[in-house]
Amino acid sequence: MANEFGGLLRGLWTTLKHAARPAVTLNYPEQKRQLPANFRGRHRLYRHENGLERCIGCELCAGACPSQAILVEPAENDPEHPVSPGERYAKRYEINMIRCIFCGFCEEACPVDAIKLGAEYELADYDRASFVYTKEMLLEPEKYAPRRQLHLDVDVPRPEYTPGGKALGDLYGTYQPIRGSDEGVGGRGE
């Protein structure tokens, strides 16, 4: 009996102690969780330092895609004004984001490191057509990423993929939470 009563008090003390801890909850739209560096979100297409697109239109990504979300229509490069360094380039490059399962096989299949999965994940939209991302949208995430969300904090700088050898962080500024919440910053050291 005394033992059980002691157990009861110990339990009450345990819950009370927990009240002193900072809450693990993040006030989501205002505060965002730090993403792991290898997070697989919205795709990005990359360019060479000289401005040429890395994609050579080989369609290996489309072949690797398990949900057939990628459409590549290759075309011959004009030798005078090449779009990519190879013989061919992607005339059309579209990813249907409704079909995409974010497995990352496309980036593994790419022989020229033209496509990578970025960190943007708030991709909701109002109509189906707007989920088909075109080459322009994928080449310029800073312009086309939905609601301008860019998670540059998780972008490991890869100077070789950015124009002028600049890290993305230098180009777009570092990621800041939109505003602090009334609850204080939650989350314990990710």
Binding site: G11, L12, T15, L16, H18, A23, V24, D182, E183
Partner: protein, 338 residues
């Protein structure tokens, strides 16, 4: 003849006063109950290392309002198997009993306004304690009838559990309160508060009765760890499984008003109610109630639900003998001291 007319006039005045006071108290209870849900969710959130609702209004303070609006506009569903009369009546019985029970809780001292003595609560009955125990036990009819009238097995089991549990723990509750009443020598809650204000609060004189009352009060209000009638994991939602919208809300309000009432009664019976230094009456009652309300939430955040046999064993084999011994010793000592 003249005296009669005068007393009749006084009656009308008193009746009007009582009606006004009940309106105020009911309004306070309903508001208090709404904010009890907010308080509970925020506190339980903190105890579980979460934040709790903080989106609607500053710090989530408008959350109860949003919940009320949502429940109010929900569809009124009546299952085909449900009893046409008792199904809508049951939540009303629960709510009525819960609201009526609070009437005798004294919120402050009796004041004289223009020759009429205005009680600190809605009513100052000489048998206030008896009234409170009696009316609050009416509430279980709502649970049992609601469980039966829903025409669902989960509801029925929940209702049966409610009946068995509330009847069993009523005994403990009653005996703990009777011990205090013997010491106080009165059943009037106003008188009990007065006695404590003049001498000692009864949790010092009757510590065992206080503990027994606490356990019984948690069981009476069907709160965790004695929430077997609702037992989400086994019975969906127990007696209110088939209820939705405002009918569900009435059960819900009744439960929370009951929690407030037993907290107020604990403060009144064992901690000298509204009396206290410096602050005027209702403030002290509020502070003491808040401590008990926190305890209720704290218990819910800590303890797992009892099994049915554990619940019954605790009542009949542990608490009942303790309550009987306490009652006996109290009665002997009080008689011996005259």
């Amino acid at each position: 003849m003249r005296r009669l007319r005068r007393s009749r006039k006084l009656h009308w005045l008193e009746a009007g006063l009582a009606a006004g006071l009940s309106a105020i108290v009911i309004f306070l209870l309903l508001t208090g109950m709404a904010y009890m849900t907010w308080f509970e969710r925020r506190v339980i959130g903190r105890l579980q290392v979460r934040l709790g609702p903080n989106r609607v209004g500053v710090g989530g303070l408008l959350q109860p309002l949003a919940d009320a609006v949502k429940l109010f506009f929900k569809e009124d569903i009546r299952p085909t198997q449900a009893d046409w009369l008792l199904f809508p009546l049951a939540p009303a019985i629960s709510l009525f009993a819960a609201l009526a029970a609070f009437a005798v809780i004294p919120l402050g001292p009796i004041v004289n306004v223009a020759g009429v003595s205005v009680p600190g609560g809605v009513a100052n009955l000489s048998v206030g304690l008896l009234y409170l125990v009696g009316v609050s036990s009416l509430g279980v009819y709502g649970l049992v009838l609601g469980g039966w009238a829903s025409g669902s097995k989960y509801s029925l089991i929940g209702g049966l559990r409610a009946a068995a549990q509330v009847v069993s723990y009523e005994l403990i509750l009653g005996m703990a309160l009777v011990s205090v009443a013997i010491v106080a020598g009165t059943l009037s809650l106003e008188g009990i508060v007065g006695n404590q204000a003049n001498h000692l609060p009864y949790f010092i004189l009757q510590p065992l009765a206080f503990l027994l009352y606490l356990v019984a009060a948690v069981a009476e209000t069907n709160r965790a760890p004695f929430d077997l009638p609702e037992a989400d994991t086994e019975l969906v939602a127990g007696y209110h499984t088939e209820y939705g919208g405002m009918r569900f809300a009435m059960f819900f309000i009744a439960e929370y008003v009951n929690v407030i009432t037993v907290s107020a009664l604990a403060a009144t019976m064992f901690f000298a109610g509204w009396s206290g230094p410096a602050l005027p009456g209702p403030h002290w009652l509020f502070i003491k109630m808040l401590a008990f309300l926190f305890l209720f939430v704290w218990l819910r955040a800590t303890l797992p639900r009892l099994r049915y046999d554990q619940l019954m064993r605790l009542c009949w084999l542990v608490l009942l003998p303790l309550a009987l011994v306490n009652l006996l010793v109290t009665a002997i000592v009080v008689t011996a001291l005259g």
